[in-house]
């Protein structure tokens, strides 16, 4: 069964209406797909549901207090709108959530709009800064959401430090709408850097590159991005692979930081420097996995492993006919290749061999339905997943099967 197309989606403009829709579906036992603007429709298993709710019409920033480093927005607010409002005050979203529309948009056509903040939180997607400053989930201070019974639940608040009660903010981050439909999120924000610089080492092999990235990340110079592109040509011109280290700082601190880091990395290779103007589009491309450029019919996967295992995972995937690149100092492996069972199994094996995890970001629907899109849980944990799912959504109506078959 294909994923639902947008016209069938109910997109209420108030939380109360959304709650009433879910309550009615709960009463009737009708499964619902849960969407924002569907820019990540292919991220996960196909959902078998007769209806769908979307938070995309719940829009608008509801609170922004720059001096308190906090912003709240309704879940359907485009990430870009929030970034724009923050930029006006010289601030930004810490986790730099990627725009993956080009990678995991719906198979059946166009997404309904730009990535929403609710979707970014519900999928816990973070960009290169993840390695230094935390994931999307680390910035979530508060949430409002509708659980599978149509009840409006809240957790956290609008303050930076809060340990009151169980942390549902983190539990709902990354749960992809299967526990509750996010209606509003409150995030920690930070001052945006005055300047960005990149050191580029060309021509290193993957293992050597990860060593260089580790040296940079283990230095006191504040590396906030650490990626390796096996083929740097498309983004940086000829010269083979590209090993990238990013510094984000006050402009007058950049020369010292880049000098010190270059000196530290001298034994790994000669480092070229990119200024802010060249660095920003480069890291946006890394963030959005642009180097993968998957063609129609190809699949895309992400693996998270211990950084020192990244190069090996990339090599194993290469042998299986997949191409990819590394972010997060080697710990995040992006891969693309034929959307086949063989590719999927190669990803599963590589993640398993590295004691890490994988996410199927896109693959043909039947493949996503047939094979796990994230690692299977051990029985005791799978039992907990079922019980926790039931604690939010006793009839299993929210995004059934989205992450795990039968859940």
């Amino acid at each position: 069964m294909p994923e639902l197309t947008s016209p069938a989606v109910d997109a209420p403009t108030s939380e109360a209406t959304l709650a009433a829709l879910v309550a009615a579906a709960h009463a009737a036992g009708t499964p619902l797909a849960v969407w924002g603007n569907r820019t990540k429709a292919a991220f996960g298993r196909p959902v078998q549901a007769a209806g769908a709710v979307s938070a995309r019409a719940l829009t608008g920033i509801t609170l922004y207090s720059p001096a308190e480093l906090v912003v709240s927005a309704r879940a359907g607010t485009p990430v870009a709108d929030i970034e724009e409002a923050l930029a006006e005050k010289g601030q930004h979203l810490v986790a730099e959530p990627p725009d993956l529309s080009a990678i995991c948009g719906p198979e059946d056509g166009m997404a309904d709009g730009k990535p929403t903040i609710g979707g970014a939180v519900a999928c816990n997607l973070s960009g290169p800064r993840r390695i230094a400053l935390g994931a999307m989930r680390d910035q979530v201070l508060g949430i409002r959401a509708v659980n599978g019974m149509g009840e409006v639940i809240t957790s956290g608040g609008r303050v930076l430090k809060n340990v009151t009660g169980l942390d549902l903010c983190k539990l709902l981050s990354g749960s992809r709408g299967t526990l509750a439909v996010l209606t509003e999120v409150t995030l920690k924000v930070l001052p945006a850097p005055e300047a960005t610089a990149t050191l580029v080492l060309r021509g290193l092999g993957a293992e050597a590159a990860v060593s260089a990235l580790s040296a940079g990340l283990g230095s006191p110079f504040g590396v906030t991005g650490a990626a390796f592109l096996p083929d740097g040509a498309a983004l940086l011109g000829p010269g083979g692979s590209a090993t990238l280290l990013r510094i984000e700082e006050f402009a007058d601190f950049i020369p010292y930081r880049t000098d010190s880091l270059s000196a530290l990395l001298a034994s790994h290779g000669r480092a070229d420097r990119l200024d802010t103007a060249a660095s920003l589009p480069l890291w946006r491309a890394v963030r959005d996995a642009v180097p993968l450029a998957p063609s129609t019919g190809e699949g895309v996967w992400r693996l998270s492993v211990r950084p020192s295992a990244g190069a090996r995972a990339l090599a194993a995937l290469g042998e299986a006919g997949l191409r990819g690149f590394l972010d997060w100092g080697g710990g995040l492996v992006w891969a693309a290749g034929p959307g086949t069972e063989a590719s999927q199994r190669a990803v599963m094996a590589a993640a398993g061999a590295a004691a890490g995890v994988f996410w199927t970001m896109r693959a043909p629907g039947p493949l996503r339905a047939a094979l796990p899109v994230v690692p299977d849980e051990v029985p005791a944990l799978a039992a907990l997943s079922r019980r926790v799912k039931a604690a939010f959504d006793p009839k299993g109506i929210l995004g059934p099967g989205r992450v795990f078959a039968g859940l």
Binding site: E68, K161, D167, P220, V305, A355, V357, S385, A391
Partner: protein, 474 residues
């Protein structure tokens, strides 16, 4: 005094049988049952409440924790997980019919990896021991609660503890990769691992800060960070709290995130100065300690910018440390704040609400009014950047009426924090101390949702019962 649950008579009656069963599973050397040896476990950092437990077990392995927990679960025996017992909210307070499972003997550092910037440790390792193990190589474990010499990583995970530097480095939850956790059924689970982010549900995020309600953590993998090249502090005194609050807002708005931004009010300044002789200005109504990191030149540049910002607010004092030693002197008073207040008043309650930093002036006025109303002195220390307030309420433990007033005053302060848009606890946890105030922050739907999650992990509610959730619900 907070109400405590009645011990279950049928469990008390089975004491000998229970102790024998625990000895059979863990060995006599790992089980404590003699009254004299149980006494040290009767309380934690929230010393006003004491309950001698039925028995204490100190397992040496995860398998032993699993055996003890499974037995207790199957026999309906309450369990109180314990690490170092420094909780300030009564999180580790035992019950007469409960078995305390303590992780203090599981104190090995299992792995340190600088290339991957992680350390895997047993749950009974102290917070400081992690930093000590890696500081020779320039690394550190970032969350640094003031209790770090004593408190253990298991307690930090259970409370999601913070520290003076969490404005920049985050709290415990932001610095973890994985835990090994034993469920009440005795299943040993790995949640998270050596990698970043969860593929399914974020179990690690849920477990962190769950106050021993969901399982017992036996191993923790933390992220370790390379320390900055150096750090230096400055001290600024202001004639009014509001002005100090405005200076804090201007600092954050300027784009500088100091590693620490601490606030002290007049009573606290006086207590600390009398204790530590740190050279704090006694004429100031509010004192800020601001710390920055980086190379020496970067520190100079940041401190100069901060001086310029503070100067706009007509500070009564401004002192910038020129050396690491001068920084230590500035911190000396703040680090000894609890001890200093302890000298003026042997007994005090340390509160832990959070407010939006912009509401600081209202919070200070409100706390001042409440302090007068209850006739008890309050000194305030405050992590100003993140809004975490620590009002220290001084009382006399020999006078039960004074303690009751202190508790009531504390509850009113926390209600004030919630009313100002904040929360009951920023880092010390709910424990028993704040459990009955939970309904001030959460509606019944929210509490029921949390309780259903608790039930999913612990169907018999044997784990750390009568904490976190209001007693009526337990």
């Amino acid at each position: 005094m907070l109400a405590m649950p009645e011990p279950k008579a049928e469990i008390l009656a089975r004491r000998e049988e229970i102790v024998a069963a625990l000895v059979a599973r863990l060995g006599a050397g790992n089980v404590i049952a003699e009254p004299l040896r149980l006494k040290p476990y009767e309380t934690d950092g929230f010393t006003a409440y004491r309950r001698v437990p039925l028995a204490v077990v100190l397992p040496e392995t995860t398998a032993q924790v699993a055996a003890a927990l499974k037995y207790c679960h199957e026999n309906g025996i309450r369990v109180v997980p314990r690490a170092a017992g420094t909780s300030l909210s009564g999180g580790a307070l035992p019950l007469e019919d409960a078995v305390v499972i303590g992780v203090a003997r599981m104190n090995a550092i299992l792995e340190v990896d600088y290339a991957d910037r992680l350390a895997r440790v047993q749950a009974g390792v102290t917070n400081i021991a992690i930093t000590r193990a890696v500081e020779g190589d320039g690394f550190f474990y970032a969350p640094d609660p003031s209790s770090q010499l004593a408190c253990m990583i298991a307690g930090n995970v259970a409370m999601n503890s913070g520290g003076a530097h969490c404005l920049k480095y985050g709290v415990t939850a932001n610095n973890l990769l994985g835990v090994t956790m034993v469920t009440v059924e005795g299943d040993i689970l790995t949640l998270g691992g050596d990698h970043l982010d969860a593929a399914g549900f974020d179990w690690l995020g849920l477990i962190t800060g769950s106050e021993g309600q969901l399982g017992i953590v036996t191993e923790v993998t933390v992220r370790i960070l390379r320390a900055a090249e150096g750090a230096r502090a400055m001290l600024v005194g202001f004639g009014a709290t509001d002005v100090a609050g405005q200076a804090v807002a201007d600092i954050i708005a300027s784009g500088i995130i100091p590693v620490a931004l601490e606030f002290m009010d007049r009573p606290c300044i006086h207590a600390c100065e009398a204790f530590a002789h740190a050279g704090y200005p006694l004429d100031a109504e509010a004192l800020l300690i601001i710390e920055v990191e980086g190379s020496t030149e970067e520190q100079d540049a940041l401190l100069a910018r901060l001086q310029a910002i503070c100067a706009r607010h007509a500070p009564s004092t401004m002192r910038v440390a020129a050396t690491a030693e001068e920084s230590l002197a500035i911190w000396k008073g703040r680090k000894g704040a609890f001890g200093a207040v302890g000298r003026i008043s042997p007994d005090y309650l340390c509160m832990d609400g959070t407010i939006p930093p912009g509401r600081l002036p209202e919070a200070m006025r409100g706390i001042g009014a409440l302090s007068e109303q209850y006739g008890l002195q309050v000194a305030n220390v405050f992590h100003a950047g993140d809004g975490n307030l620590h009002p220290l309420i001084m009382y006399d433990a020999n006078d039960p009426a004074s303690f009751d007033r202190a508790e009531a005053l504390g509850a009113d302060i926390l209600r004030l924090c919630v009313a100002l848009g904040g929360c009951l606890t920023g880092e010390h946890g709910v424990g028993i101390e704040k459990r009955d105030l939970m309904s001030a922050q959460f509606g019944p739907v929210d509490l029921d949702q949390q309780k259903r999650i608790k039930t999913a992990f612990d169907p018999g509610w044997i784990l750390n019962p009568h904490k976190v959730f209001p007693l009526v619900d337990a």
